[in-house]
């Protein structure tokens, strides 16, 4: 099994941060110690030391090595990110001021992202107006949605539950409210949902399509009910769009 | 544009003065430039395929080297000016190349 992207990001992060903390400690402790030991009070006569070639080499070479290690580890993680498993399921993601919409391989559209558990999913990300960025914090990855282009990344859904997608590239007035709920459900349930189309295909909210799924679980139901409510957190729609006049349609 | 500086500093003299200004060489350069223009226009008519752009740029580069070295006196100028120009060109070329690391593999 390939390593999971999120785990890899976390471990790279801690590797770099750990090294950094050690370096920071060395620098800070040395600094404080010198400040104490060689204060004018304790050491009235300074000594003229103008440099030391060995030291210069040491503190150039060691960081070079550290940095190269960091680079290669992060590169390995990155390769994994870009190398999409062949059997990954494809979801088309479209950003638009200020909502996300998702399209599955069978043309089913939704504004809630519902995914099967333990599956590799590839997102093909585009935009119809300005730049957005499709960000799945829980999965530790994002890629911008640029009009006229398709970017991609993939994830593996290895945990059942409710998460969210956010927009991470500034896109105007409601950039801050461009969330979409992300629900990971067992595959069987997912398939039922995916293959059920709402009566009116132009109004393709998750709630509509769910009505046709008799066996939907609670997670799925609640998720569907608050599609526009940003991962179930945002309810204050009154101030959501206060002033759209600043945006050309 | 440039103000007079008011410091008691002797400069290294005007370098261009070391080489005697003359009309003749510049006229020769001009003839050379016109010929190169004629060449580049006529070559453009020939079908060179992928080479066409290279040739056109090569000729343009030669022309600008002429302009720089003679009309702009760089050939007779202080080393510093040459180094400066080198730095400027280096930066431009690096930036162009790095941009193409994206474009080449993206499109």
């Amino acid at each position: 099994m390939r390593p999971d992207i999120a785990t890899q990001v976390d471990s790279t992060f801690w590797m770099i941060t750990g090294t950094s903390i050690v370096l920071l400690l060395i620098i800070t402790v040395a600094m404080l110690y010198f400040l104490y030991k060689y204060s004018a009070k304790r050491n009235p006569v300074p000594e003229a030391i103008e440099g030391n070639t060995t030291l210069e080499i040491v503190w150039t070479v060691i960081p070079v090595i550290l940095v190269m290690i960091m680079f290669f580890i992060s590169w390995a993680g990155f390769r994994n990110m870009r190398d999409v498993p062949k059997d990954a399921m494809v979801v088309k993601v479209t950003g638009q001021m200020w909502k996300w919409s998702f399209e599955y391989d069978n043309k089913k559209k939704s504004d809630t992202l519902i995914l099967p558990l333990n599956k590799d999913v590839k997102f093909e990300i585009g935009s119809v107006d300005v730049n957005h960025s499709f960000y799945l914090p829980h999965f530790r990855v994002k890629e911008d949605a640029i009009p006229g282009r398709t970017n991609y990344f993939w994830i593996r859904t290895n945990e059942e539950g409710r998460f969210y997608a956010a927009c991470a590239e500034y896109c105007g007035l409601n950039h801050w409210n461009m969330y979409a709920p992300l629900v990971v459900v067992p595959e069987g349930e997912f398939l039922v949902w995916k293959n059920t189309f709402p009566a009116d295909t132009t109004k393709t909210t998750a709630a509509d399509s769910l009505k046709k799924v008799p066996a939907a679980t609670d997670t799925l139901k609640t998720a569907a009910n608050d599609t526009s409510k940003a991962a179930g957190q945002k309810t204050d729609t009154a101030r959501t769009v206060k002033d759209t006049s600043a945006i050309k349609k | 544009m440039e103000a007079h500086n008011n410091h008691d500093e002797h400069n290294d003299g005007h370098i261009a003065e070391a080489h005697h200004p003359s009309y003749g060489i510049n006229i020769l350069v001009w003839i050379g430039l016109l010929s190169l223009t004629a060449i580049t226009v006529s070559v453009a008519g020939v079908n060179l395929g992928g080479l066409a752009l290279t040739v056109a740029l090569l000729i343009a580069t030669i022309k600008s080297l002429f302009v720089m070295n003679f009309f702009m006196h760089v050939k007779f100028d202080n080393k510093v000016v040459k180094i400066f120009i080198g730095i400027c060109m280096l930066v431009f070329v690096i930036v162009l190349i790095l941009t193409f690391f994206d474009l080449t593999f993206r499109f």
Binding site: V67, D129, A168, L173 | L98
Partner: protein
Amino acid sequence: MANGTIAAPAAEVDFYHVKGRHKGLLSWLLTTDHKRIGIMYLTVMSVFFLTAMTFGVLMRLEMLSPGETIMSAQTYNSLFTLHGVIMIFLFIIPGIPAVFGNFFLPIQIGAMDVQFPRLNLLSWYLYIIGGALAIFSLFGGGGWVDTGWTFYVPYSVRTTTNVSLSVFAAFVLGFSSILTGLNFITTIHRLRCPGMTFFRMPLFIWSIYATSWIQVLATPVVGITLVLIILERAFGIGVFDPTLGGDPILYQHLFWIYSHPAVYIMILPAMGVVSEIIPTFARKPIFGYVPIAISSLAIALVGYLVWGHHMFSSGISDTSRVIFSLLTFIVALPSGIKVFNWVATLYKGSIEMTAPMLYAMLFLFIFSIGGLTGLVLGALNTDLHVTDTYFVVAHFHYVMFGGMGIIFFASIHYWFPKMFGKMYNEKMAKVAAYIIGIGFNTLYFPMFIMGYMGMPRRYYDYLPEFQVYHLISTVGSWILVSGILIMVANLLSGLRNGSKAPSNPWGGTTLEWTVPSPPPLLNFDQIPTVDHGPYEHPEIAKRKEIKDE
């Protein structure tokens, strides 16, 4: 000052009191004296700086609690844009070179002024015009700009706010910056006093030299890019418009080709000041003069090669992401060399913990955190998680405010006696520095945590799980504000009632400490001759002689 011969004024008269051709305000507005121009920059810049800081504090207030706290989303979006634009283009880029570079560069190399004094004044006027335009843009019809300081297309082309005017302001400010850089490079080449070889220049000069090259060679690129935004908005030429076939990512390339090197325009001069302060108060020569000098040039050069790290998530090719990531790791090395040399300078010194030194030590700590978190951003896979989150916001405040900003404070304290001929209250200054240090970290450290948890930047509102961090952060901003207010008050009272400053209050060894405080109009009554490096403290020089004999 025109061509010709003038008599040097008596050396005792400082430059504030020289009777020139003009009187009163005009004697400032028409001056070509580099010191007066420096002071004028300082005055105007402080106003902009405080304005932008106030915006920052207002933003923090909004983030105090979820939902609308004190402003609407549109206002918030404009506030962070203006905060960013003013901080970047009006404060941190011109900051140290325009104020302290102008004032001290000629003196430190033993010259009487910069090479092109009138051009210098023109730069100041361009700065003022740019600033004024930025302010005008607030009152124009379309409303406050709301694009973020990066002006990304296509949003910046679509929004109806006053983008064109703001962008034009940034363009004018760019020219001010270019002219200053060009002036300094020529000055350093042409006006060094006898004996002042390149390797006897103070490190501040080295860093300004490197900075100036970036200013000259990088700024025009953003200039033309911003002009293209204006043209795109006015005529729809299409080069950045995806509906016409343009590529929005090319805009990002052009923008960052300048704006990454620009972050080194911000930090290099600050690093130069640190290299002045530490040897002065450690009473010994700097450790590793040559490596520090060369690393400035290295940063300037390699700094051109890494702009792509701001675009890792934008969909640039995988190859270029890898190359830019590798280069980003490399650009961190020269900064590391500097940090290590600074710390080593403390070794076996005789350290006096004055206010400027305290700020410099604060810088070492804070800048290292900021720089090291830059490595997380430079790493490909982690950046895709933290880019455009508060992690980045924390990173750049640590390097910008904690790096250049703190050193701007250090510079004021270090050169205050020389610039104004007065002393400030040392104890108060240190108290303020401690409060600033505490406030700073309380304000920005939680942002790293939020960022890693997934709090995107430029968000007007947030999910409840981030509440506690935002709360701590906002409280931190209050601590910071009080520290800064104490600092400003202390400096102002020093300006009014401070005791008279001697010409060399710190025992500094560079040339500015050999002239009276404040310096006379022409800086020196006789151009000095230099026969040793910049940091030879007299006690040490004496001992050396004894040893040699």
